[in-house]
Amino acid sequence: MKRVFDSQLIGPFAAMVIVMLVVALTTDRFLSPGNLSNLSLQVSIVALIAIGSTIVIFAAGIDLSSGSMVALLTMILAQFLKVAGIPLLLAVPLILIVGGLLGLALGMITAYGRIPSFITTLAALIAFRGLALTFNNGSPIFSLDPALEPLFYGKIAGIPMPFFYLVFFYALASFMMNFTKLGREIYAVGGNPAAAVLTGINVRKVQTLTFVIAGFMTAVGAVLMSARLNSGSPNYGQTLELQAIAAAVVGGASLAGGRGNILATLMGAMTIVIVQNGLNLNAAPSSVQNIVLGAIILLAVGIDMWRTEISTLLARVLGRSDQSPQGAGTAKPALSKDN
């Protein structure tokens, strides 16, 4: 358990609790069952996609394609259901496979084609949105299947379905990152690709697999997006990729790769959604919400980068001598020779 819940979770967890307290104290509706259940619905799609985004970041890549891929996959799902007449029980797994294959393509272009993932997925961000528009003359497709909505709105024992997806996929991802060979290799590739090559790790394969996982998780998000509105639309998922990356970053994942805890991404996503929820409940306009979201991202990374200075300052203020920060976001050593 110590491996799963390590010290890297403390910061993101504290941030989440603090925003929860602030929102709970400034609004009277935050803790109402209706709002909490609404929160878990709101966080679910971005938090599930963020699993993939974070794993790509662990391997020192970046995935900008997920928002557009959601739009494309909802349109393909709509085609499966409305045009091809594929039954829902078959269409959903098919979409997950298509998502994985799209990820495979992006991963191979990046790893074997030696194109930086920023470029590969930026191109995909633009192209997938265009591809989504080629279906149905670019118009949304509505009323896909009455059995689709319960995937999102359904409840088991009064708990919304998305809660179970979150628990399932985060448990799986956490297990993978902490207890499997692939998880270790992902951290190794992100930490030092040159060393990974010399220790016999198949770096390109590992990089590609992170994109397959990201494509698969994006497909999970796309299915939920379709279920939520019982439709497919080329306009779905705008800036979703950025929210997913923001969740990873607020959760403490290093964009340089190799560092971070996948569960912290869930906390990062929760933090962001709670802040948005709090602003909503306080009737703040969406412009303010975006400004606050921007500030949170800066603050989250800033606290990580300046942790030595902050702890020194805290120690001085509190008059303590112990000031060594432990573990998590330790800075990489300066690239200097020993002598």
Binding site: R3, F179, T180, K181, L182, R184, E185, Y187, A188, G190, G191, N192, A194, A195, A196, V197, L198, T199, G200, I201, N202, G257, G258, R259, G327, T330, K332, P333, L335, K337, D338, N339
Partner: protein, 508 residues
């Protein structure tokens, strides 16, 4: 004479420590106007530390720096330039896409009264500096198009343009041919005549002998010969650099057996290995001798599958070995401890355990799931056996000293049970205690029947720790001899002549 005018720059008892290494230990040196001062010593002796201190890149831990007899502080590289110190580092600091004139005045461009760069003046002033140096280079030429030697002269022109009184040259001739070296030396003599103080760092002792007026020799961070304490000739300098008491630092065990483990025949690659053949015996340490660029590292890379073979065969334990990439090599039982552990060896995001098991994840897992208890137990045992700091179990490896880090990289291949280990500069930048620990590890490995290919620029280490030495020249193994039949001087001379040969060949 020295009493009348104080030296231009003087270091008194300057100390500088890095984690695990005292790089400069009470270093004193006097740099005089109009004198070329050679600063010599083997790799890791503290030369570059001294240069960095004088050029303001770092601050000393203690000791005084005197400028014309007065105590001063060199607070940063810009401060050093303001005080008239120009440093020509080994790695060029030239921007290849800019013109010669732009490079000469980079950061200090002549501007007109509107604050816009005055191109006429840039080119005219650059032409004046080049003319003063008697160098025939067009100031408007793109620097990247010039020969390496000309680029080096441009680098020095930068120092002349800023009217530096003190010029530091770090390995200025490493990339130069014979007549370019001669041109550089003429220029230096001219500058000396004008009163400039020059600190000259070079591994090429033959040229040092020709150009310098005085030498200071460092060993293990200390000055072992101050200016005037040694004759300026190659053999005196070598013996001072090496020291006499080195032998006991090498606890060599002879464990070589007759059986041939690896046989390499006529290896060639695109990047410099040419028809190299050698045998490696069980329990043997085979040293690859030769200078940087001779093809030592390239032979290792070819064996390990980093570079593709264009010709030749490798046989491992009697069976042909086809290595297409690092993964094949590791599966076959080969291991490479790379020269640069920071860039190619360590995972700074992992603690010792993750670093040690990185090459053995397949054996450590079933159905893709890692046996973390086995990992902990196995790495704990190695950390104790190799006397790696216990902190390594809790902290990521960036907190550890160079010696501990190197032990961890080697421990990786003990854990993976590799049969043939290639050590590329295994003791570079680590202190003497850690070096001896690495030597003992080499003994333990050979005792266990493993074979080692050792690459080292440290000739003493190579001679003392190898059973046999294969001398590498131009990517080819010119001869393989028993290590006891070679002396340090042999290797230094072989290297020096090779440089000269290579340089002459390039000119032709």
């Amino acid at each position: 004479m020295a009493q009348a005018t104080p030296p231009l720059w003087e270091f008194v008892d300057v100390c500088k420590a890095y984690p695990g290494v005292l790089a400069n230990d009470k270093v004193c040196i006097k740099l005089l106007d109009g004198s070329i001062h050679g600063l010599l010593g083997e790799n890791g002796c503290g030369k570059s530390t001294l240069i960095k201190t004088l050029s303001g890149v770092q601050q000393p831990d203690s000791g005084q720096i005197l400028f014309k007899g007065k105590v001063v502080q060199i607070s940063g590289p810009q401060d050093a330039r303001d005080k008239g110190i120009a440093t020509v580092f080994q790695e060029f600091s030239i921007v290849p896409t800019l013109s010669v004139g732009e490079n000469i005045f980079l950061g200090n461009m002549p501007k007109n009264r509107f604050g816009v760069i005055d191109w006429g003046k840039v080119n005219a002033s650059a032409a004046a500096v080049l003319a003063e140096m008697e160098i025939d280079i067009n100031p408007e030429a793109i620097t990247g198009n010039l020969s390496v030697g000309e680029q080096q002269l441009v680098e020095i022109a930068k120092a002349v343009a800023m009217k530096a009184r003190m010029i530091i040259l770090d390995e200025p001739t490493a990339a130069l041919g014979e007549d370019e070296i001669e041109r550089l030396h003429q220029l230096l003599r001219k500058m000396r005549g004008q009163g400039t103080a020059i600190l000259y760092v070079s591994h090429r002792l033959d040229e040092v002998e020709r150009i310098v007026d005085e030498v200071t020799i460092l060993r293990s961070g200390r000055v072992v010969r101050a200016s005037g304490e040694t004759e300026i000739n190659v053999s005196d300098i070598v013996s001072a650099m090496v020291g006499e008491d080195i032998a006991e630092h090498y606890p060599k065990e002879h464990n070589a057996k007759k059986d041939i483990v690896l046989h390499a025949a006529n290896l060639s690659t695109k990047n410099g290995v040419e028809d190299a053949s050698f045998d490696l015996h069980k329990g043997e340490v085979l040293g690859l001798g030769g200078v940087l660029g001779s093809g030592r590292t390239e032979i290792a890379r070819a064996l390990f599958g980093v570079d593709a073979l264009t010709g030749g065969t490798v046989t491992l334990n009697g069976a042909p070995l086809k290595v297409r990439n690092e993964i094949n090599a590791i599966e076959a039982g080969l291991a490479l401890v790379p020269e640069n552990r920071k860039f190619d060896g360590l995972f700074f995001n992992f603690r010792a355990s993750g670093n040690i098991t990185a090459a053995s994840l397949g054996g450590l897992s079933r159905l893709g799931i890692l046996d973390l208890n086995a990992e902990d137990a196995g790495t704990h045992k190695l950390i104790k056996e190799l006397e790696i700091s216990p902190q390594a179990e809790q902290k990521t490896v960036n907190f550890l000293s160079g010696g501990n880090q190197q032990k961890i990289v080697i421990a990786r291949w003990l854990f993976s049970d590799a049969k043939v280990l290639i050590f590329d500069e295994p003791t570079q930048g680590i202190d003497i205690g850690a070096k001896i620990a690495v030597y003992k590890l080499i003994n333990a490995l050979t005792r266990a029947g493993k074979s080692i290919i050792l690459i080292s620029s440290d000739h003493d280490e190579l001679l003392a720790m190898s059973d046999r030495i294969a001398v590498v020249q131009h990517g080819n193994i010119s001869r393989t001899v028993s290590a006891s039949d070679l002396t340090h001087d042999d290797l230094v001379r072989a290297s020096a002549t090779q440089i000269t040969h290579a340089a002459t060949e390039e000119r032709q």
